[in-house]
């Protein structure tokens, strides 16, 4: 296990935030989001606004409109619900350079329960024109995302995590907006995953390999703009596509991939691994993943089932 996503984020923010136009806002959860690391280094550019998310998002718009790059921090669930009006009006509609950093994505704030889980944030944020949407899949990638947020203007939503995910990439790997990463080649089926589920998909590949099924695994860390070319290529080359996300099966990565496949007229079987239109509950993170089917086994099972459904 590598460093946790939130620690990687906190470190990157403090490192790349070493320029006068970066400002950081937090709503009394800086110790959780790890924006506190930045606060220690650059207190004059860190604004803790108290438990007041609406105001935080509005303030970010004001900072953005005067040439700053505001990083807005709170739990993903609050950012994308309470913060949605400002994100829509000022980030999306007006195109202001707001960086919304969704801490504790998915069920990673496991013991706090469903009120603190974010299982619909990707669906919500990808409906907003102009927004880029990222899901951090490992620590090295988190580092690149922070750098990218500073370098490229425009509204961005990033889903982070409280937890550590298995390392997928070397430090300083360069990613590209709108380009998914093939983390494992395979020929029988493709799993397109993001975040926590990329590591699980690689585990699923090991299970399936023993059965003679060669699984390709794609890390679709950039949900918007999505890598249409790669999705269509995978459909052509493997003709089974399974999406896997720590998110509702409604409207998230699975939905985004289905839109591309459908518009592309692909004759492909798609399976969806994710939260089945339900909220979770509190408990140990691993147990939650087990109970709600966010596991390598569930991915492997879905791949097998899709291969069976494949027309002759």
């Amino acid at each position: 296990m590598s460093v946790s996503i939130r620690d990687a984020y906190g470190r990157a923010l403090a490192e790349y935030g070493d320029r006068p136009d970066v400002v950081v806002l937090d709503a009394d959860v800086a110790g959780s989001t790890k924006s506190c690391v930045f606060a220690e280094k650059f207190p004059e550019r860190h604004f803790n606004v108290g438990v007041a998310e609406q105001n935080m998002l509005g303030m970010a718009a004001g900072f953005a409109s005067t040439g700053k790059i505001p990083f807005v921090n709170t739990f993903a669930v609050f950012l994308t619900s309470i913060g949605f009006l400002a994100a829509r009006t000022l980030g999306s509609y007006s195109g202001l350079n707001m960086k919304l950093m969704g801490a504790y994505g998915g069920m990673s704030d496991a013991f706090d329960g469903p009120t603190h889980h974010a299982l619909e944030d990707i669906a919500i944020m990808r409906t907003l024109p102009g927004f880029q949407v990222y899901v951090a899949s490992d620590a090295a990638q988190t580092d690149w995302i922070v750098k990218h947020c500073i370098e490229e203007a425009g509204p961005v939503y990033v889903r982070l995590s409280r937890e550590a995910f298995p390392a997928l990439y070397q430090e300083n790997t360069v990613f590209e907006k709108g380009k998914g990463m093939i983390v494992k080649e395979g020929s029988a089926a493709t799993v397109i995953a993001c975040g926590l589920m990329v590591g699980h998909a690689l585990e699923a590949a090991k299970i399936l390999e023993k059965e003679g099924i060669s699984l390709r695994v794609v890390d679709m860390f950039c949900i918007k703009p999505i890598d249409q070319e790669l999705i269509l290529r995978c459909a052509k080359e493997t003709d089974v596509i399974v999406t896997a996300e720590e998110h509702s099966v409604t409207g998230g990565l699975g939905g985004a991939v289905a839109e591309v496949l459908s518009a592309g007229g692909c004759n492909v079987v798609q399976g969806f691994v994710g939260m089945e239109d339900t909220h979770g509950e509190c408990g140990p993170y691993a147990a939650l993943q087990e109970k709600y089917g966010l596991t390598p086994e569930k991915i492997a099972e879905t791949v097998r089932e899709c291969i069976r459904r494949k027309p002759e």
Binding site: G58, A61, T66
Partner: protein, 279 residues
């Protein structure tokens, strides 16, 4: 420094013309909000004509003063003020709310550069103005940020989040002007959501507070001058106004919040407003 008598008369004349042209425009377009535009007429005129350090030539200057109309439904009076101050051609006003217009139904900063912030959903403007104010302070800019909010708008909880936060961060370059017209969409403020003593509310939130007649350009200017002096606190000017000011049958009437102006009402309004033009 006080307003000269001559300058005061000029500003009053601009306000009279603005009211006439506003009613002509809204009658012609059969859409747009008259009540809250009329109540904010002197506030917007004073800001753009006299007090805010921004002009068509400095609209991209990083040290310009910012004016934010947080009560975005009063867009017609914002556009009127922008036209009177030369930011947009007067004839462009006729494109209000048309397809492809820069003059969107609610102000849009990407449609029209002179609009500092997209507004419309109430309660966002104060927060954004605060962000701008703190950002300008980081840059050691001399610029002030003026934000005009409605008293109905202050029903929104986010305004009070911003109020707390502005005091915490000592945003003394932030000047809020409340268009205290006592009427909101569904009825009077007393009926819908009584806001009590707004000045006292801001005072206990840590703001420096001024109160004036929001239809008296001299008083407005004097308040803004005083507000600009104080250090360490955000400033609120409670401008007592009348919704629909200048048109007797619109005054204090919530139905004129957003109602299209029919021909008979238009004739009557013109008679009253043009009657006042002689001065």
């Amino acid at each position: 420094m006080g307003l000269s008598e001559e300058r005061q008369k000029e500003l009053e004349q601009i306000c009279r013309e603005s009211r006439v042209e506003l009613i002509e425009l809204l009658h012609k377009k059969q859409t747009g909000h008259p009540g809250g535009s009329l109540s904010a007429c002197e506030i917007m005129t004073v800001l753009y004509q006299e007090k805010a350090n921004v002009s068509p030539d400095t609209v991209r200057d990083k040290d310009r003063d910012r004016i934010i109309l947080s009560k975005g439904h009063a867009a017609p009076i914002l556009y009127m003020a922008l036209a009177k101050a030369g930011f947009i051609p007067q004839e462009e006003l006729l494109t209000l709310r048309d397809l492809n217009t820069r003059l969107q139904g609610h102000p849009s900063s990407h449609a029209l550069e002179a609009v500092e912030l997209t507004t419309g959903p109430l309660g966002l403007g104060m927060s954004a103005a605060l962000g701008m104010a703190l950002s300008l302070k980081l840059d050691e800019s001399p610029a002030a940020v003026y934000v005009v909010a409605g008293d109905g708008e202050l029903n929104e909880g986010a305004c009070w989040e911003a109020a707390m936060c502005a005091a915490k961060f000592k945003a003394d370059n932030l000047i809020l002007i409340v268009d205290r017209n006592h009427v909101q969409l569904d009825g009077t403020a007393e009926e819908i959501m009584p806001m009590g003593d707004l000045g006292e509310k801001f005072r206990v939130f840590g703001w420096e507070v001024y109160t004036c007649d929001g239809h008296d350009v001299g008083e407005l200017c004097a308040c803004i001058d005083k507000a600009k002096e104080g250090k360490g606190k955000p400033k609120a000017i409670i401008a007592e106004t009348v919704k629909g000011k200048g048109v007797s049958f619109m005054e204090g009437k919530n139905i004129w919040h957003g109602k299209p102006i029919d021909d008979a009402s238009y004739e009557q309004a013109m008679k009253e407003l043009k009657g006042g033009m002689e001065g």
